[in-house]
């Protein structure tokens, strides 16, 4: 698993900055992660930590300006996507890497039918006859578990429920058999029972198609249920990475520890919840040194000035907290 052979997507030291009048927001500040064939990688973090920006950058969807890719590489099968022009990028998008967005309400165009939109997703990359187009879109909608797919083709997005719309979005993402699907909080806007349906659907699709999934979320419950490997992001950097059991049972960064401890559940009733003090920093006003130090209960003086390096715990489990690392010997 650790030989880099089947790494499909590899983001290396990516830096994405945004120029907002007079200020520079370092939304993504040196992030590296990789997605291997057939695995589910979760990018976990709170709002403004740069998880969505880093994913959008891999698809070349960052508006420039105000955005600026200040450094790093996005390698897809060894090819740096950041070097590609718009036309070449268009061929990658959808065809090799596809994306599912958070808001199923706004990601579909309200004036076109479901059929139109699914068929368009196919036609962008492939030339196929009309009958085949129809067959394939029905098949796609059936694959994502939409009931009565033949009839759904003529429906408009407003006639579908939120969960059904998200299924259509997934069908469109799968239209050209991509190798990697990036899902940006696809279930956040959905009810729990519908979220469970969609998560199960992702699981099925992945098994059937050997799909690689880069799943962006802030919900640790969801992460625990689907992730093979996890990257925890905070203020534009990755603070901890590792396999799901390692992150959940043996977190080695105070932020990860704090997050897990602050989750409410029934068992903790009566006891005070652990809470991380302070607020998530604005990407334009990040504290120096370790960005987590103002909220960290382990912070020592060096944390304020020295940017923490990755400490290796073996098996790909790494954390950016030298204080904890030294403490454990």
């Amino acid at each position: 698993m650790d030989n880099g052979k089947d790494i499909l997507l590899s983001v290396q030291d990516l830096k994405v900055y945004f120029h907002l009048n007079q200020r520079l927001a370092q939304a993504v500040d040196g992030v590296s992660y990789e997605v291997r064939k057939g695995e589910t990688v979760c990018l976990v973090g709170e709002s403004g930590c740069g998880k969505t920006v880093s994913a959008l950058t891999t698809l070349g969807l960052i508006p420039q300006p105000p955005g600026e890719i200040a450094g790093g590489q996005v390698l897809f099968k060894g090819q740096n996507l950041l070097d590609l022009g718009d036309d070449e990028m268009q061929k990658i998008r959808g065809n090799h890497i596809a994306m599912v967005f958070q808001e199923p309400m706004t990601s579909l165009n309200p004036v076109f039918t479901v059929g139109d939109q699914v068929q368009e997703a196919i036609m962008v990359h492939e030339k196929v006859s009309k009958t085949e187009l129809r067959q394939r879109s029905v098949q796609l909608l059936e694959d994502v578990g939409l009931p009565a797919p033949e009839e759904r083709l003529a429906d408009y997005p407003h006639q579908l429920s939120g969960g059904q719309r998200q299924r259509v979005m997934i069908a469109m993402a799968l239209a050209c058999n991509p190798e990697v699907v990036i899902a940006d909080e696809p279930t956040t806007a959905l009810d729990v029972t519908i979220q469970a349906q969609i998560l199960n659907l992702f699981g099925e699709l992945q098994r059937e198609r050997d799909l690689s999934l880069l799943y962006i979320t802030h919900d640790l419950g969801v992460v625990a249920n689907i992730a093979d490997r996890i990257y925890i992001m905070y203020a534009g950097i990755i603070v901890e990475q590792g396999s799901a059991p390692e992150i959940f049972h043996d977190p080695r960064h105070p932020y990860t520890q704090g997050l897990l401890a602050s989750l409410p559940n029934r068992a903790k009733r009566g006891a005070r919840l652990h809470s991380i003090p302070g607020t998530v920093p604005d990407p334009a006003y990040k504290p120096g040194g370790c960005p987590f130090h103002p909220r960290c209960n382990l912070a020592i003086e060096t944390c304020q000035s020295r940017f923490p390096e990755m400490c290796d715990y073996g098996n790909g489990h790494q954390s950016r907290c030298p204080v904890l690392y030294d403490g454990n010997g």
């Binding site: 709170e46 709002s47 429920s161 939120g162 969960g163 059904q164 009810d191 729990v192 029972t193 519908i194 979220q195 469970a196 349906q197 998560l199 199960n200 699981g203 802030h218 919900d219 640790l220 419950g221 969801v222 992460v223 625990a224 249920n225 992730a227 799901a244 059991p245 959940f248 049972h249 932020y255 704090g258 997050l259 897990l260 602050s262 989750l263 409410p264 559940n265 029934r266 903790k268 009733r269 005070r272 919840l273 652990h274 809470s275 991380i276 003090p277 607020t279 998530v280 909220r295």
Partner: protein, 351 residues
């Protein structure tokens, strides 16, 4: 009323712990709010002449009660009517039928004027910390609105009270002169809580107070709400869709589906022995943050149906795994399944 608030504020400021006063001791265990057969249907009008084409049965016969100093969790998926319940209790909407009995007084028939002294007894905290504060008013002005209706005269007096309230929710007093956009979501939520506390209420309706917040901030707000509850003897109606949060904060939980309460039980009992198939489905659909317990989430099939003109019989019939002929015909009553445990399913009662 004002004196009680004063006493609380002062004690908070001086850092003394304090106990429930005698009056509240007597009330403990008493029922602050009792809701009986609450109904609200919104007519749906269509066409040029605005004819009534049907009605959205947002709330259709809801009963529950909240004890003093306790929390009732109200859970349900979107469109189940839980927000409408909160608006009905606060009398921001008029119920079509049913009673809202607050501290022994039926408020559903009261006029705006009669309602005025009771208004400040019940307050609300909102989900969206960005929409809940007037962007054109400073934090201090927003909180002062409550003090004004309370009849606190004198600017200096009000200012001092605002600062105390801000400190109570963990915001520095200098914040009073700033505008909402200068604060993060969690801080705005604290300010919203301060505004609710400004009139010294005994019941606070928390309408999804943490679901729009970041994970690390959620715990702060939940702790704050819990602390305030013990300090001030508040009762909460805690509306949420996150079962983990509800399980943590609530003493009693009501599960709502399409305008009906499906199950109503003490929190422990509901989580350990859920009786209604919907509660069961809801609980098994929630992903648990334990990678070892990973299994296929038991997903209910189908979508949450529209509350527009629901079918007769059980509201859950379309998605229920146990559905039978009788569920489609009979009006399903709220059965007693144990002490304080009620469930709207005849099959459960029949065994």
């Amino acid at each position: 009323m004002a004196t009680r608030a004063d006493a609380r504020c002062c004690m908070m400021a001086t850092g003394e712990g304090y106990n429930l006063d005698m009056e509240q001791m007597e009330q403990a265990g008493n029922i602050v709010l009792k809701v009986e057969g609450l109904k609200k249907h919104f007519p749906v009008r269509r066409g040029f002449f605005q004819r009534v084409m049907g009605s959205i049965q947002a709330v259709d016969g809801v009963d529950f009660d909240i004890e003093a100093g306790k929390t009732l969790g109200l859970v349900g998926e979107s469109g189940c009517g839980k927000s409408t319940v909160s608006r009905l209790i606060l009398k921001l909407l008029e119920p079509d039928e049913g009673k809202v009995i607050f501290q022994g007084q039926d408020i559903s028939g009261l006029s705006q004027n009669q309602m005025k002294p009771l208004r400040k007894e019940m307050q609300i905290i909102f989900q969206d910390p960005y929409g809940s504060l007037n962007p054109r008013m400073t934090i201090g002005e927003s909180i002062e609105e409550g003090l004004r209706t309370l009849g606190v005269k004198g600017q200096a007096e009000r200012k001092a009270r605002v600062e105390k309230l801000l400190e109570m929710v963990g915001i520095s007093a200098s914040a009073a002169y700033r505008y909402p956009h200068e604060f993060s979501g969690g801080q705005r939520q604290r300010i919203g809580i301060a505004r609710a506390l400004s009139v010294d209420p005994s019941l606070i309706v928390c309408d999804e107070p943490v679901s729009a917040l970041d994970v690390s901030i959620q715990a702060q707000i939940i702790n704050l709400l819990k602390d305030l509850q013990t300090q001030l003897g508040l009762s909460y109606l805690f509306i949420a869709h996150d079962l983990h949060v509800v399980g943590y904060v609530s003493d009693t939980v009501a599960v709502m589906y399409l305008g009906h309460i499906m199950e109503y039980a003490p929190a422990d009992e509901l989580y350990d022995k859920p009786l209604h198939p919907y509660t069961l489905a809801l609980l098994s659909a929630v992903p648990v943050p334990e990678p070892d317990k990973r299994c296929e989430l038991k997903a209910l099939s189908g979508d949450v149906p529209s509350p527009l003109d629901p079918l007769p019989g059980c509201r859950f019939q379309g998605r229920c795994p146990l559905v039978e002929e009788r569920c489609r015909e009979d009006e399903i009553k709220f059965y007693q399944a144990g002490e304080n445990h009620r469930v709207r399913c005849w099959k459960v009662i029949a065994g």
